[in-house]
């Protein structure tokens, strides 16, 4: 049997209809049609919105719903804390996405109705979709720190784990701290967003204190048994650059917090009193993922098919970024999230245009951490789809970390930020 072009188009249409696509493009140059709604305008949401517009040649409508007025980057926000950069330096507007034809709505999604394919906003509006991308990042498990409440976390016991007002407020606490004070950062049990982030923060806070308040201390109170990322590189920095300032204490899982006396208690270690308590609570997929019924793993994370990022619960919904249950070796990082976004964009354009999907792409992660105002270190990895095991795996022999901290990578780290922001938002 042979199949001619006409029959092929019929077959494609049937396939697309089976996949739940509303319409098909003609031969106008645009690929695909229909409506995509994206929840969340962070690294993942912004990237997928732009790439669906770009790869469909404007054929697919994209609506991005984000609660904040601007994108503020978590990566690089520790530089703001240390006074090396300003909040404006890590802030990007959504105007660039609008130029790609993305409809950007500032608002809060309160509910997803997967059967009706619609999302409801806090202002009462309802928006329907053919495909939905859920990129909500993380929310906190308040119960992981007895004594901590959302209200306390917005006033006195800050996490600084979502960049923006939290970053500014934590910087103020650091600046207001007396010389000789103690800045304690409490790290939750893995998995959490940005594995090296807390250790980078300790370095940059110490970098600031060393210059401005040299009698002060930084205590790292880690719920984990050991440093979670770039261990040798961070330990070397603590020893060489911050001896007498940074002290690392593993196996410090918080049993309670007393905000009045600024004290943390631990099950198996002495209590700690500090002048600034930077408590990063345990984390889970952003709350909307739970409401939408997408959480499948440990009551925390969303399971997806990594070839397309489709939810294992609702195939018309894609979940990307920190909210997902990652494939083995995939970190919860901003860079990794942009890679999820590209897998999602390619799948969405294929599914909504009847185009033959390409083989699964290989993705990579490169994550820089500063250890002072100028020097940085990295961890990198490459992940490829394993058809037998039906998941992504790190490629044996690839990836690694810096040989030693250096200023060249300090420059690359900032160039990474400028390029990844442009790729996501401009």
């Amino acid at each position: 049997m042979t199949i001619n072009r006409r029959e092929f188009l019929k077959v494609s249409a049937a396939g697309a209809a089976a996949a739940g696509v509303v319409g098909l493009s003609g031969c106008t140059g645009a690929k695909g049609s229909g409506n995509v709604v994206v929840i969340g305008g962070g690294y993942g949401g912004a990237t997928v919105a732009k790439y669906v517009r770009m790869w469909s040649d404007g054929g697919i409508n994209v609506t991005l719903i984000e609660r904040n007025t601007n994108f503020v980057s978590c990566p690089m926000s520790n530089l703001v804390l240390a006074g090396e950069k300003k909040l404006e330096d890590i802030t990007v507007s959504y105007e660039g996405l609008k130029k790609h034809g993305v409809r950007v709505i500032q608002g809060d999604v309160t509910a997803v109705d997967a059967d009706k394919r619609s999302v409801k906003l806090a202002n009462g509006d309802t928006i329907t979709y053919d495909r939905l991308v859920v990129s909500p990042g993380i929310d906190f498990m308040w119960e992981s720190v007895p004594g901590l409440t959302p209200e306390l976390a917005n006033t006195k016991i800050l996490h600084g784990w979502k960049a923006g007002p939290q970053t500014v407020a934590l910087k103020k606490q650091l600046e207001d701290m007396k010389d000789g004070g103690v800045f304690a950062i409490a790290i939750p049990k893995a998995p959490y967003r940005c594995p090296p982030g807390p250790y980078e923060r300790a370095c940059l806070v110490a970098h600031y204190l060393k210059a401005k308040k040299p009698k002060s201390k930084v205590l790292i109170l880690d719920a984990n048994d050991d440093v979670q990322s770039k261990k040798g590189l961070f330990m070397a920095a603590w020893k060489d650059l911050y001896a007498g300032i940074i002290e690392y204490r593993p196996k410090h899982e918080i049993s309670s917090l007393d905000a009045n006396s600024m004290t943390l208690k631990f099950e198996f270690a002495d209590a700690v009193k500090a002048d600034v308590l930077n408590v990063v609570p345990g984390q889970k997929a952003g709350d909307i993922a739970k409401q939408a019924g997408l959480v499948t793993v440990n009551n925390r994370w969303c399971g997806v098919d990594w070839r397309t990022t489709q939810s294992t619960v609702h195939p018309t919904i894609h979940v990307i970024g920190d909210a997902t249950q990652p494939a083995p070796g995939m970190p919860k990082s901003g860079h990794m999230t942009t890679q999820h976004a590209k897998i999602a964009a390619a799948a969405i354009v294929s599914l909504m245009s009847g185009e033959q999907p390409a083989d699964p792409m290989t993705i990579a992660n490169t994550c820089y951490s500063y250890v002072d105002g100028k020097q940085a270190v990295h961890v990198a990895s490459v992940h490829t789809y394993d058809a037998k095991e039906k998941t992504f795996k790190t490629v044996a022999g690839s990836g690694g970390v810096s040989a030693a901290r250096n200023e060249i990578e300090g420059k690359y780290a900032w160039a990474w930020a400028k390029n990844v922001w442009a790729d996501a938002l401009l």
């Binding site: 390409a358 792409m361 990198a380 390029n419 990844v420």
Partner: protein, 99 residues
């Protein structure tokens, strides 16, 4: 019958002779992973090598040199080791075609 037709169509896709299903999009998608650092379609905004319009042979050689340690690097020697020759070829073909 519809289901049968789809299956036959998919089977035919597999016989087109290319190394990858939907070769053009495969190269585009693979290269997009690099764009997070090197700029959308290889158009770097600075501080990273711009790959748009990079001659194919030159990019293939650079990635092989990174992989073999013949070209010094901070990160690329580690990343290049994650790609097969055919994948490098697909990425380089895409970037060479970008204006």
């Amino acid at each position: 019958m519809k289901r049968t037709s789809v299956v036959i169509a998919l089977a035919l896709f597999g016989l087109t002779g290319s190394a990858f299903a939907n070769e053009a999009n495969y190269g585009r998608n693979m290269a997009s992973a690099c764009s997070s650092c090197h700029g959308t379609n290889g158009k770097s905004v600075g501080g990273m090598e711009a790959l748009a319009g990079y001659p194919k042979d030159k990019l293939v050689k650079a990635l092989k040199d990174f992989r073999e340690g013949a070209k010094p690097a901070t990160v690329m020697h580690q990343l290049a080791k994650g790609y097969t020759d055919a994948q490098v070829e697909a990425i380089a073909t895409f970037y060479a075609a970008q204006k």
